[in-house]
């Protein structure tokens, strides 16, 4: 059945992938009349609507599924069984009247309670007008009792008219009114509850709560699953996964971040305790360039979610720096008396190498069908359509969601599904690449060109663009993806 799916008008690129992911999550164990939930849902727009508008239709096999998706989502304002629509209130009436009675009457009966909400997109409807509009619906035989708090049935009258240019959308071609019964909507209270401002332990790159929830949804985090973040930092992504019931595990190269925090009640653990969430099942200090997983261990994580260390400010480090930075050919030997308290030095970790390691780790450690969800930075000068995202023989890229951060710089949330096993051949190719990276690294450093060795020319500009100093052009041509 087709449902009207109205989104919050924000993070436009993230909206459909979220619904599709949640359809997989809830559809996987459900037996629908139409069989399995397809990996790509059918979508359509109201007549002459821009794809970035909040109004979509989505075809879902059951109301239960539609409800599950909507209530777990972050960006679905409401999912509705549409009873009628039109370009005017007269047309709406005709449309509602011709909608089959057997679909309407069960929700109108005298034992039930209900509420009608008048909503609009981009314009304000006064309380007076709202009352009138509701009275205008008298052609619908409501027999139930009005109840404003927690009614059995929620009905919505939604008017979309000239909404002006403030939302990044092209002007509307035609007014449209919808009337429908709500099936479910996002619990946006999650966002103030989990907002970073209220977090006891924060770092400069802590993931904002809304985005962390979106990432956890892309990763299909749920009870009984194990989710890993190899760049865990303050744990903000895992907090979202734990909220959805997943078991979590994290690693970071920075021991102060992962072990010490800012004291006994201000650290990664306390970020979970604060919300009454189960603690991560494991936190460790480890270098993603040299993971310490036992070689016989495979396919243990259901999802890997992370914000890898890109750029200079939160740039990656990996083990083994000092000897390289000094350009010494002989490896640096840590003197025995300094061993226990020795802090190993680290070398810069390039974007390509970091992504290579991440894909290799995920290919080996994810279960089949498991998901890898991570941010990837791009320069906006690159034609988005031509951007080459990382590829791996074990993975299928299923969604790319761009978030524009400045006039030149975007980050794209990539969601990949593990579709092929990690074979010996793949492992061997990865091993050779790992060694090449290491050799190249030494060579680059010997050439004395540290900066360009770490970032390719494109990436070098990119790190520049992150710096607020470089964010000019406050009015880019198309600002849809900013919202």
């Amino acid at each position: 059945m087709w449902y009207l799916c109205v989104f919050y008008h924000r993070l436009l690129d993230y909206r459909k992938p979220e619904v599709e992911s949640l359809a997989q999550l809830f559809g996987a164990n459900e037996d629908h009349q139409n069989g399995r939930v397809p990996s790509q849902l059918q979508w359509k727009f109201p007549l002459r609507y821009h794809p970035d508008s909040p109004f979509h239709f989505v075809n879902l096999p059951s109301e239960q599924l539609a409800r599950n998706i909507a209530t777990r989502s972050i960006l679905v304002k409401g999912m509705y069984e549409l009873w009628g629509e039109g370009t005017s209130y007269e047309e709406l009436k005709e449309s509602v009247l011709s909608y089959p009675d057997e679909r309407k009457l069960p929700y109108l009966d005298s034992d039930s309670t209900f509420k009608i909400t008048v909503d609009s997109f981009g314009k304000v409807i006064s309380l007076e007008e709202q009352k009138e509009l509701i009275q205008g619906l008298s052609y619908i035989p409501f027999k139930g009792r009005v109840k404003l708090k927690n009614p059995d049935h929620n009905f919505w009258l939604i008017e979309v008219d000239n909404y002006g240019g403030n939302n990044g959308l092209p002007p509307i071609v035609q007014k449209r009114v919808f009337f429908g019964r709500e099936v479910g909507g996002a619990d946006r209270k999650l966002i103030p509850t989990y907002q970073l401002k209220s977090r006891t332990y924060l770092g400069p790159t802590a993931m904002d709560a809304e985005m962390a929830f979106l990432m956890a949804n892309q990763a299909l985090a749920t009870s009984g699953k194990l989710v890993f973040d190899p760049f865990v930092g303050t744990g903000s992504i895992l907090v979202a996964a734990a909220h959805f019931g997943a078991m979590t595990m994290g690693a970071d190269i920075d021991i102060r971040v992962v072990r010490d925090g800012r004291g006994p009640d201000c650290n990664v653990w306390s970020n979970f305790k604060q919300y009454g969430l189960p603690m991560p099942v494991g936190l460790l200090r480890a270098d993603n360039n040299l993971p310490a997983w036992r070689p016989s261990l495979k396919e243990v994580f259901d999802a890997i979610i992370c914000d890898p260390p890109y750029g200079v400010r939160a740039g990656g480090r990996k083990s083994g720096g000092r000897k390289l930075l000094k350009g010494a050919v002989e490896p640096y030997i840590v003197p025995d008396d300094k061993r226990t308290d020795h802090i190993p030095s680290t070398a810069p970790y390039s974007l390509v190498e970091c992504v290579h390691d991440l894909l290799d780790l995920a290919a080996k450690m994810l279960v089949m069908g498991g998901r890898l969800v991570f941010f990837y930075p791009i320069l906006r000068e690159d034609d988005f359509a031509e951007t080459h995202f990382p590829e791996h023989p074990c993975f299928k890229l299923i969604s790319t969601s761009e978030q524009i951060l400045s006039s030149r710089y975007s980050r794209v949330l990539l969601t990949m599904v593990k579709t092929g096993p990690y074979t010996e051949e793949i492992a061997e190719v990865a091993r050779i690449k790992h060694i090449q990276f290491k050799e190249n690294h030494v060579k680059w450093l010997e050439d004395g060109n540290l900066h360009s060795a770490v970032f390719s020319p494109a990436a070098a500009q990119l790190t520049e663009a992150v710096d607020p100093k470089f964010i000019k052009d406050p009015k880019p041509k198309y600002r849809g993806k900013y919202v």
Binding site: L226, I255, L284, R294, S319, P344
Partner: protein
């Protein structure tokens, strides 16, 4: 550090062939109540190296695990309780994980194993 994590880690020092299992030196072990999740335990049971797990639980002072285990035991509540307790409720707060081949100690501090290698170990 819980024994689930221990069971997943090995010493990855350059040249080490058999870095698993890491021997546990326990200085401080704490117990915490964790809600039992059967589905999760079943999945982890498939991944656990049982012998290493039993030895590690002994090093932490817990001796109630059977020496051998197979999936038929997953029908027993008693088994689940013990497995759950050893896997998730015992925490190594302070101590070390010792590489079986080189004797290198990876310290565990405030519950966090430090698996980072020194410059001459990579």
């Amino acid at each position: 550090m819980r024994l689930l994590t221990h069971n997943m880690l090995s010493s990855n020092i350059k040249g080490v062939v058999n870095g698993f299992p890491l021997r546990i030196e326990a200085e401080k072990v704490v117990e915490m109540n964790v809600e039992k999740n059967i589905e999760f335990l079943k999945k982890m049971f498939e991944k656990i190296d049982w012998k290493a797990f039993v030895d590690a639980s002994q090093a932490m002072g817990y001796t109630e695990l059977p020496k051998e285990a197979d999936s038929s035991m997953l029908n027993s509540d008693e088994f689940f309780n013990r497995f759950h307790h050893a896997l998730l409720e015992l925490h190594l707060e302070e101590g070390a994980l010792v590489c079986p081949e080189t004797g290198r100690r990876f310290p565990v501090n405030k519950g966090i194993p430090n698996m980072l290698l020194h410059e001459d170990e990579v």
